[in-house]
Symmetry: C2
Subunit: 112 residues, 2 copies
DNA sequence: AGAAAAGTGAAGCAATCACTTCACCATAGG
DNA sequence: CCTATGGTGAAGTGATTGCTTCACTTTTCT
């Protein structure tokens, strides 16, 4: 399925990398410039910039440039989309589990 | 960062594909055999099996074989790890946001 | 003006991904 | 036994990923 347009694909893909999650974790504490974000990592600025672009494309991060400094910050709405998907699955699963519980109850093995 | 061992890497990577998410959505309604899972997709059984293996490696899905049928089901604990990470970021962000609110409340001509 | 700092873009490279096809094994049922 | 069903494994392919280096622009500082 080569549908790289699906927002959830991009979102989860963006979060599937330790460097990018670390960037998110950093930005959650507050906005930061590109080179501030790059400093902790043992890789080139270019590499970090590419990670940052993935995060921006996914919508997780927004940025604006003033002077020569690009300041980045979290866009919480994007992360909420992934949270919602996961929550939807979990509640779906809990419902199935309840149904299973009902069946087990009916068959007399009351365990809860 | 070639650390494909990190559980969160594997988890998010597993969820970063529409086919795999569809499999999860299916399994949330209840267990299913490999070929049941494959049926809706317009790709070979081998391809679906590879997706399934990614899900199993990530821990999102467990399976057991009885006879010639492998039955798969969701392992909810794995998904909870991703949910926890996301929730942690959101609460972290909300805290930052509150701090920002405090600063804005304290308003204008105060330099601390 | 000249140098340093901050960021950008492109090309290249090895590894990984998402498939395909083909060959194959194991079990269930006539 | 024989065949259909359900599932596996391996090899191959083209696209994508996660970097690197190098060249370059723009802004700030002195």
């Amino acid at each position: 399925m080569l549908n790289r347009q699906d927002p959830l694909d991009r979102l989860f893909q963006a979060l599937a990398d330790g460097t990018r999650r670390a960037i998110v974790e950093r930005l959650v504490r507050g906005p930061a410039a590109v080179s501030d974000l790059a400093r902790p990592f043992d890789m080139s600025l270019s590499a970090v910039l590419q990670h940052l672009n993935v995060l921006i494309e996914s919508g997780l991060v927004v940025s604006e440039k003033s002077g020569r400094v690009r300041t980045c910050r979290i866009e919480p709405g994007a992360m909420r989309m992934t949270e919602d998907w996961i929550t939807r699955q979990r509640t779906g699963w809990e419902r199935s589990f309840d149904r299973l519980g009902d069946i087990l109850d009916d068959s007399g093995d009351r365990n809860d």
